[in-house]
Symmetry: C2
Subunit: 146 residues, 2 copies
C-alpha cells in the first residue's frame, strides 16, 4: 500500500500546516465581527447553523472543548440573545440549544466582514494560489473535524 503521508514532502507539509494554522488562528482572533464574541462562540453558532440544534454535551464534543467550557459559552450566548435553551424532550438532565433569528443575522454580517478581511489579506496571493486554497478549504474543515 502506498504510504500517503510518511514521505518527506508530507512532513514538510505537516510542518507548514501547523505553523500556518497557529499563526492564522492568532490573527483571526482579532478580526471579530462583534467584539463581545469569542472565536469559539462564533464557531458554536456556525455549528448550530449547520446542525439545527444540539445538546451542550454534543457541542462540547464537536468543538473539542470540555463540557464546563461549553456550559459557559452557551450561557454567554444565551445572555446575548443568540441561542435558546429548552429542556430535552426525553431526558431531563439534558438541554437543547438552538440559535435565534438574531444569530442568523449576525452570522450573515460576520461572513461579509471576514470575507472583507481575508480579501484584503488574499490580495497578496495570485489567482492560482487562491484557487488552491479554495479547493483545500473543505478538506481542511473535514480534517479538523476528524
Amino acid at each position: 500500500m502506498p504510504d500517503l503521508i510518511h514521505d518527506g514532502d508530507s512532513a514538510a507539509a505537516v510542518s507548514s500546516l501547523r505553523s500556518a494554522v497557529m499563526l492564522l488562528s492568532r490573527r483571526l482572533k482579532h478580526q471579530r465581527v462583534d467584539e463581545s464574541l469569542s472565536p469559539t462562540e462564533m464557531s458554536v453558532l456556525g455549528t448550530l447553523a449547520r446542525c439545527g440544534s444540539a445538546t451542550p454535551g454534543e457541542l462540547a464534543r464537536k468543538e473539542h472543548v470540555q463540557p464546563p467550557s461549553m456550559t459557559r459559552i452557551v450561557a454567554l450566548l444565551e445572555a446575548k440573545g443568540l441561542v435558546r435553551l429548552e429542556p430535552h424532550p426525553d431526558d431531563r438532565r439534558q438541554k437543547v440549544v438552538s440559535q435565534t433569528e438574531q444569530a442568523e443575522a449576525m452570522l450573515q454580517e460576520s461572513r461579509s466582514k471576514r470575507n472583507a478581511w481575508l480579501t484584503a489579506l488574499a490580495e497578496g496571493l495570485d489567482e492560482e494560489e487562491w484557487e488552491t486554497l479554495r479547493k483545500a478549504a473543505p478538506v481542511l474543515e473535514k480534517l479538523a473535524h476528524l
Copy 2:
C-alpha cells in the same frame, strides 16, 4: 479585472477556512511535544530554525504578537535552554536571539510527533484530499504571514 474573491464559492471557502483553522488550532494545542512549551513558543523556535537568529522585535512582528509577549516567550525559552540571548553588535538596545543545539533536537522530535498525530488524523482522508492539502500548505503559510 477578474475578482477572485468576492464570488459565492469564495465566501463559503472563507467561512470554511476560518472555522477549520480555529478548530484545528485548538486541537493542535493539545498535541505538544513538550508539555511545557506553548504553541507560540514552538512557532518561535520554528522561525528561528528558518531565519537563524533575530531580535525580539523582529520575532514579535513575525509572530504577530506584541513586543512584551515576545519578551516573556524569549525569557521562558532561555530558561529552558532552548535559545541564547546575546547583545546586538551595533545597537545596545536590542538583543539577538538564536536557538541552541538542544532546540534543534527538540524540533526534530516535535516534527515526528506532529507528523504521527496528523498521520492518524489524515487516515480519514483519501489520497486526493491529502494531495490537495499538501499543495495548499505552503499557500496557507504564505497567507498567514501576509
